[in-house]
Symmetry: C2
Subunit: 190 residues, 2 copies
DNA sequence: GCATAACTGGAGGAATTCCATCCACTTGTC
DNA sequence: GACAAGTGGATGGAATTCCTCCAGTTATGC
């Protein structure tokens, strides 16, 4: 997000809060969240929102960027800190499910599929994620841990897996249960 | 759906079209679809919709019922026609992913979690589905095809799995790819 | 066929939601 | 301490959506 002409410190802080609030509400309520609700959640006036993001799409784009960046961060941390590619992949997929990126995708894509592709910074993070997935996949296959017959395209599908968790259940339990099963499906047989 | 006092043939047809249209649009657009759009999709006037479903929730309930019933039908057909419990379960899970029941759940539950529980006919179909899952799970485990350490609760989570399919890809390919992986995760090792 | 009760559709007014501007006031920064 | 930068929310207007009402249509029994 190229911060054009240096923002004043408080303005920058408000901007960031807006983006985070937008991402949260996008995940909770879909693309049609009232802008006023985003402003409220960010603890900021509606006027401030409009100054920083003169049109809705600008905010949506910033929020998408934030979401993708979190994903990339998760992946990079996993790659850096885990002992091997298989474990990195496992951790990454778990992180994806928790971030609910799939929900973001389905909420946003239909509305902006070209606006998003047009935004260069989005394209860039997306590339980072793609590369990461590539490295993890081929790495884990080389280690003999990942089945040879899954492609990076398959992994990409799994990245945006969504599960519906009934209110009675703990989200993170459910997520890890499903992801574990998924990983068992991915693991090479010996 | 107890059809109280016999509906005239055309009225009944219109009612059914409304429910189907409502389910479709619910899946496509979420709980906030304009009622007028549902009426249009059903090829019916808005007045007709209101006569049959005086309040929004009545229609939502009918649509949920329709969705669950389709699910139960899929499951029952699978149970009846497949040679063993494991294959029935596989077919059932595939069907679930294609019906996108997860999307229905996440769209509707938050809005009506008690209204739905209150409707007896919904509770009933839900029970049918639950029983089906039970039978399939324990059956497939008895056959030695399904891992012993998965519970029916796990399977229930998988029932409402959602995947985001990028527009470039064929939905059914993606679905079957993911479901196959899932099933490999569920299959007992020998 | 025909009578009639059931059913239909959509025009249109009320109500709600959402947008987006504007400006008096506050706050960072040099 | 001065001044540019930033803030917030009241407000009018646009756009949706709801939902009633009734003149007209259609199925059904005889």
């Amino acid at each position: 997000m190229a911060a054009q002409p240096e923002l004043r410190a408080d303005a920058r802080r408000n901007r960031d809060q807006l983006v985070v609030a937008a991402l949260d509400l996008l995940l909770e309520q879909g693309v049609d969240v009232p802008l006023e609700e985003i402003a409220r959640r960010a603890g900021v006036g509606i006027g401030t929102l409009y100054r920083r993001f003169p049109e809705r799409d600008a905010l949506l784009r910033a929020a998408s960027y934030e979401g993708l960046r979190r994903l990339a961060d998760t992946g990079e941390a996993a790659w850096r800190e885990e002992p091997d590619a298989w474990h990195a992949l496992s951790r990454f997929l778990r992180g994806c499910a928790e971030l609910r990126l799939g929900a973001l995708m389905s909420a946003i894509e239909p509305r902006l599929h070209d606006a998003i592709r047009a935004a260069p910074e989005l394209h860039e993070v997306r590339q980072v994620v793609t590369d990461l997935v590539d490295r993890m996949t081929t790495g884990a296959q080389a280690e003999g841990a990942l089945r040879k017959d899954v492609s990076t395209a398959d992994i990409s599908l799994l990245i945006s897996l969504q599960i519906y968790v009934p209110p009675s259940q703990s989200t993170s339990d459910a997520v890890s249960r499903v992801v574990d099963l998924m990983l068992d499906g991915l693991r090479a047989r010996d």
